[in-house]
Symmetry: C2
Amino acid sequence: MDYRFSDRISSLKPSLIREILKNTSGSDVIPFSAGNPSPESFPVKALKEIADGIFNDDATTALQYGISEGYTPLRDALKERMKKKFNSGRDFDDLIIVSGGQQGIELACKVLCNEGDTVLCENPSFIGAENAFRSYNVNLRGVELENDGINIEKLENALKTEKNVKILYLIPTFQNPMGITTTLEKRKAIYELAKKYGVMIIEDNPYGDLRFEGEEVPTLKSLDTEGLVIYCGSFSKILSAGIRVGYVLAPSEVIQKMVVAKQVSDVHTNLFFQMAAYRFMTQYGMETHIDKIRKLYKHKSSLMINSLEKALAGRAAITHPQGGLFLWCTLPDNVKMLDFCKKASENKVAVVPGIAFCVSPDDYCNSIRLNYSTPSDEQIVKGCEILGKVLDSYY
Amino acid sequence: MDYRFSDRISSLKPSLIREILKNTSGSDVIPFSAGNPSPESFPVKALKEIADGIFNDDATTALQYGISEGYTPLRDALKERMKKKFNSGRDFDDLIIVSGGQQGIELACKVLCNEGDTVLCENPSFIGAENAFRSYNVNLRGVELENDGINIEKLENALKTEKNVKILYLIPTFQNPMGITTTLEKRKAIYELAKKYGVMIIEDNPYGDLRFEGEEVPTLKSLDTEGLVIYCGSFSKILSAGIRVGYVLAPSEVIQKMVVAKQVSDVHTNLFFQMAAYRFMTQYGMETHIDKIRKLYKHKSSLMINSLEKALAGRAAITHPQGGLFLWCTLPDNVKMLDFCKKASENKVAVVPGIAFCVSPDDYCNSIRLNYSTPSDEQIVKGCEILGKVLDSYY
């Protein structure tokens, strides 16, 4: 059989990351390449108790079909938390439970975009989101991301010149891959532009709970007087990534369409772990647990920054994230990024080339993304030393 | 904000079922309308033990990100079972874990169909699948379903005349909604037609394990010498529907594309319950458990058939399924189906009008779908009596 696939799926290229990281899956490899939360961040004991409780007192609910909107107590608890903690959510908003933040992005695109419509995003940006957009054959355009957020002038230019812009996709807080946070000033400017051009914003905020330094910056959703912001949140980095539970807070009209799309996609999200997330939030001290994760990542990011500064000795620029999982390291001009990544990989350190996050393969990028949540402390120290030696080899 | 939604999502109409069943969600309503497995079919005790075991010996794997293909031991066990039990799966095939059978259908459509391509299905068919196809703006065409399977002549005519037919979607075993099973003779004829016209078949088989009468009929996948069949299976009716774990067995080339689509959709399926399903299959006697469910449904279907025959007294024709969850009841011509469903609903029995399953709202259908897995024995007897009285009111 000569298989004919859809245009949308044919346009998804094999990941450059996968190619480069092909030989870096062994247990002797230092994983600076992942986006995984630290295994230390999983509250195994609490989840075990919670699971026992669900089997004892509400097993039939957990194992039967549920509604596509999600488990009502969890939806209510999340709405309340979003209001209290992030001042986000108005009367016109509603909330749906999704199978991880990724599904929130994918469903938002499915309900808003026709093929050929334009989606704008920061450049570089999260590969998973970029590919979700590509999988609907939209015109994906990147706008330069600076150290304080997207370039506002270039954003307005794109809004003016690109056809049928439907979505502006942003990770304003502890951005993946750069680790930077958009300033409040820029958030306000972005919101005004979205209003002016009638464009919906997807605010992807999987790391928003993981601030370990500096002051909280208000979410775009908290500025959303007009109902323009689709906020995607997740339990992946504060409870467990493997359970695939996330949520979307957005205007009810949008949520209603997302419910329909969710229903045909997977009916509903795993109900047992929706119930577990609810019990964890309300009965097992989730906020205290999040504080612990913050301390853990503050320690790990400092360790990586200090180790890198020592090893790279001023030859490469690194971002200093105030939260999240990543930092971004820009190599000297004489060091070619792809070559550097290959050499690192040969020396058993897996790092992701920055170009993998760029919207167009023709974009210039001489940076690499480094993750500090996955490796152990020992691996962080050793891995940074190795990266230093790889860099030495160019001199 | 004046929200503009995609064409594909705008074409999904609110469900007629939901409208008719609006007032039938109370606990005093007899649920003949659902597609839920019986709560008695959930192996709560085994799952509790399994969950404890996973938390004790493999918690980090279960709570961390997994690969989009699914949990390898589960994939291998399913391939082996499909081979052994259904003689299905060849060297060119592979298997992906999905978030319930529904996702298998949706992803298959996403990777195979461009907008405007044609999907053929039995008429009537499963609403969830129909809407998944509609959500990709395909040309969905129904072909008459007879008591022994799809009308072969009309199928060939559709294959000849419809443009760009990419998928033939079928539920050959214990079909939803009609409860009938396609004969081997027709399966062979269908397969030959798919081969002749170069069309992929989706064989949706969520009920295949639930035969309680008669002889097994070979799957379409078992006939698949050419790599044309995408087989969708599920744990929803043999373990738990709420966990959302299903699988797709299909040619590797197709599975590879589905993995890419799965990755952008929800990264992977809840890993904890993939592991639980694996342990249930291999260590907790799943086949014995399935035998119990079969006995349960044999009892429930007989009870419903006997109660209906008594109450309807030859005035309506009912199908006699040899497995699955549903039977199909065709009303006398003088009784209008929608009116009958409304009256039943006013009398606290929820039944789904057959027209809800038809591909076009203009199709003629004077039948209703009845589910026997969800209601209790007492509800089955009482509900059938009430349906009889509703029917009496027309005479």
